[in-house]
């Protein structure tokens, strides 16, 4: 099975390195399509069990059965990186996939977001996730499915609510610095001493210890906050929350750099294939055909699509950048940007027009989409909107009251809208079951008035 070397792997790697691709070694494994499907659903080969994955799995299964999805490869960054290839791929497809994987490996070793997370988490997410899964299994044995599921329901619901600008292993808030005890200076000491012992006055009442407000400033890392400040959280529950948070840290760069990353890998598979003089010509033609199947704007025969294929967009952007700014600049951009900077800074009018990108609006419950007037900035923001804040609304902890009540606030000014009340209430119910004190959330309703949702009061 797995470690049979892929054809032309050695040659392709040598070629990639000669073009300056810089990556950790990659272990290629050929696995059955059923396994590919699971890696695609879970994001990792072995991951914690949760029923919501079961739902995604069924959707994926249906897609697969209907022939709508064929997954060629899944790459897991790390040192070594892991690449899973469907063992049903044809040989020519695998030539392309090998080159594609090397592009991803280069990206994940050099891009800042990826680097930062991997430096903190270690380079072995596959093993770590398997370890988390094992610990969950033990927790289920020890505490029962219901109890563990309560924690997982909450943890996965808040999966996106992390703060990647903070450290993965982030300490609790520092306590208020002790009131500065200024060393009494010679001339004030005498007076203060006498003042403190004025005849006839009782000793000054000891000042109540001042507590730093928790959190000291609005906190958006909800998983971290609950793990460290929930009033009655058990140790094993904290472990689960932090394990989910760790995996979220791993997934965040993948989410935030999808266009760049897929584009970069597509650029390199095309480029390496073009330069691969060692390939027999019929293999080459076949591989190029596979390339154009993957990197194309429309599905099937359609000439218009209401979605943008990130492979296609990223691929075209990188070609554009390399053509205009050169490879060195491209590598610098690859290392320092995420999709926001990538699209905002490098998608210019010429390229956007050439790709035929357009913005559209749909009415609620409407069946039709109306093409909007062409405006590059609006188009970019519309393209990036689903990617803001890990794809989730901004919800912050504002206050933890003395009685343990957790007060959350949605930043509706930033999100430009309020929350969907029904789903928010459900999430608060998940949270309440582990926070174990009242949980209150402020948002706005459809009329722009304040909406208050509370669970457990």
């Amino acid at each position: 099975m797995s470690y049979r070397p892929l054809s032309y792997q050695v040659e392709i790697e040598a070629l990639a390195q000669s073009y300056g691709l810089d990556y950790f070694p990659v272990q290629f494994e050929q696995v059955p399509p059923s396994f590919m499907m699971e890696v695609a659903v879970y994001g990792l080969p072995v991951r914690m069990p949760h029923w919501s994955f079961g739902v995604r799995y069924i959707y994926q299964l249906i897609q697969h059965r209907m022939g709508h999805s064929h997954i060629f490869e899944v790459v897991i960054p790390g040192n070594p990186g892991h690449a899973y290839l469907a063992d049903t791929n044809r040989e020519t497809e695998n030539i392309l996939v090998t080159a594609h994987v090397l592009g991803h490996a280069d990206f994940s070793k050099n891009n800042l977001l990826f680097r930062r997370v991997q430096e903190q988490a270690g380079y072995h997410i596959v093993e770590q996730a398997a370890n988390h899964a094992q610990r969950i299994t033990e927790a289920i044995e020890q505490h029962g499915m219901e109890a563990v599921e309560r924690v997982l329901d909450a943890a996965f619901a808040l999966e996106q609510h992390i703060d990647i600008h903070q450290d993965l292993r982030r300490a609790r808030y520092a306590d208020l610095p002790a009131a500065p005890v200024s060393a009494p200076t010679a001339d004030t000491a005498g007076f203060r001493d006498r003042f403190a012992h004025l005849p006839g006055s009782a000793a000054a009442p000891a000042r109540a210890p001042t507590h730093a407000p928790i959190p000291p400033s609005p906190e958006s890392d909800l998983l971290w906050f609950i793990a460290h400040y929930a009033p009655d959280l058990e140790g094993w529950e904290r472990d689960i929350l932090l394990a989910v948070r760790e995996e979220s840290f791993y997934f965040q760069p993948i989410f935030a750099c999808q266009i760049m990353n897929e584009g970069w890998a597509s650029y390199w598979h095309a480029r390496l294939l073009r330069e691969a003089r060692f390939l027999p010509s019929e293999l080459y033609v076949d591989a190029i055909k596979t390339h154009s199947d993957v990197v194309r704007p429309y599905a099937g025969e359609a000439q218009v699509s209401l979605q943008v294929n990130p492979y296609h967009l990223g691929f075209c952007l990188w070609e554009h950048i390399i053509e205009h700014h050169g490879m060195a600049a491209a590598r610098r951009i690859m290392a320092t940007e995420d999709d926001f900077g990538f699209v905002r800074n490098y998608l210019d009018e010429e390229l956007a027009r050439r790709l035929g990108l357009f913005q559209y609006t749909t009415r609620r419950r409407g069946r039709e989409a109306t093409v909007s007037d062409w405006d590059l900035d609006a188009l970019k923001e519309s393209l990036l909107a689903p990617k803001y804040h890990f794809g989730a609304p901004h919800v912050e902890v504002r206050e933890m009251r003395r009685d343990g009540t957790l007060v959350l606030q949605q930043d509706h000014a930033l999100d430009k809208r309020g929350l969907d009340v029904e789903s928010a209430r459900k999430v608060l119910e998940y949270m309440h079951s582990i926070w174990r004190r009242p949980v209150v959330l402020y948002s706005i309703n459809g009329q722009g008035k304040e909406a208050r949702i509370a669970v457990g009061e």
Partner: protein
């Protein structure tokens, strides 16, 4: 950490299937909570043959914070268009990884949960906290049987237990000094028999249905649904259960199960014919000494005045033979139209609530209350 080198571990175990099964288990639990409502809606009786109920259920949704939907949504597409063009609706994008599939306005995908009727009945018993039915310890029951019980050193040759005897011999030789006799009379063990009252695991349920013209379609459906669950309730306890179906107008006939609910007669109601028919069937086919007998009668409550003494008399006889008699009055929702005659007959003939009870059924949701009334009361008696 999985070991890639030793096994194709992923061939043996599907995480997706595991989590899908867990999802389904949760679905079943949530179905269970709404069971009475779902069953009232589902077409249970037509699926009686395979004893399964099919119910449409939605996928569970794992909720996250999400923004309220705006009147207008915008997106980005690609292709040759000009501003103002209208295009078909964007294809939904299920299972793209980050978002769990559901959450659109259409309310997600439905699928069908199939449950065994037995399973549902178990739940109902649990849910309604009904005690198990007990076979009646009736004075009529004097059937006895021989049962094996213990061993003795004396007995008929045919009942010699060789294995047991051998064991005894080995034990004895183990403690006796060297040349011990291979067998002695003391080693012999014989199986003993004792007379015991024969436990009664057979049962028969007799259903009586008023098929007169005053019973409308709605009343029949109610009666049918109630009968179905009553039958399941009895079936839960008895391994061998037979059902008898009697329909009557001014005369009574026995029917097959299929015919039973289709029967529609003309004319009035003489309930005593039904009770007599039941008595006759019991006497001919189900000796009360060997059968636990349950009788359920459904009617709209109407009965000929003249029939009153006959009905009371025959019902009394029936109640004496049966473990339990139940009467459901499938009444019209408006109290004005109720006939109370049959209820009077039951109250007069069966004053003891442990022998029988009656319940007035006006809508499907009442069926659970009816089941609770009959099976709850009855079991306390046992």
């Amino acid at each position: 950490m999985p070991d890639h080198h030793e096994h194709l571990w992923y061939d043996l175990f599907s995480r997706g299937a595991r989590d899908w099964l867990r999802h389904n288990a949760k679905i079943r639990a949530s179905v269970r909570e709404q069971l009475p409502r779902l069953i009232a809606e589902a077409d249970i009786l037509s699926t009686d043959a395979n004893r399964r109920v099919r119910m449409p259920v939605r996928f569970l949704e794992h909720h996250r914070f999400k923004l309220s939907r705006d009147q207008e949504q915008s997106g980005v597409g690609q292709g040759k268009v000009k501003p103002g063009d209208t295009l078909g609706s964007p294809a939904p994008q299920p299972g793209t990884g980050e978002e769990s599939g559901g959450g659109n306005d259409q309310g997600g995908v439905e699928f069908v949960v199939e449950m065994k009727v037995d399973e549902i009945v178990d739940w109902i018993w649990e849910e309604l906290k009904l005690p198990e039915l007990e076979p009646r310890a009736s004075s009529v029951l004097h059937e006895e049987e021989w049962a094996r019980e213990g061993w003795d050193k004396r007995g008929a040759r045919a009942r010699l237990d060789r294995r047991r005897t051998m064991k005894e011999a080995i034990k004895r030789r183990a403690v006796q000094p060297a040349p011990a006799a291979p067998f002695t009379n003391d080693d012999l063990r014989y199986r003993q028999l004792k007379k015991r009252p024969k436990p009664n695991t057979q049962a028969v349920v007799l259903f009586g249905l008023d098929a007169s013209s005053s019973m409308g379609e709605r009343e029949r459906v109610l009666a049918k649904t109630f009968f179905f669950w009553a039958l399941q309730g009895v079936r839960r306890r008895y391994s061998q259960l037979e059902a008898v179906f009697i329909g009557h107008t001014v005369e009574a006939w026995e029917f097959s199960e299929e015919e039973f609910f289709q029967v529609s007669g003309q004319g009035g109601t003489v309930a005593s014919t039904c009770y007599r028919k039941a008595l006759e069937i019991i006497q001919n086919r189900y000796p009360p000494a060997q059968y636990n007998i349950y009788f359920f009668y459904a009617s709209d409550g109407e009965n000929f005045q003249d029939d009153h003494p006959h009905a009371v008399e025959s019902l009394q006889q029936l109640a004496d033979l049966a473990n339990y008699c139940g009467y459901v009055e499938v009444a019209s929702p408006s109290p004005m139209q109720r006939y109370l005659e049959t209820s009077r007959v039951f109250d007069e003939a069966i004053p003891d609530p442990q022998q029988g009870a009656r319940f007035s059924l006006t809508q499907e949701e009442d069926i659970w209350e009816a089941i609770r009334t009959f099976f709850g009361v009855h079991s306390q008696a046992a």
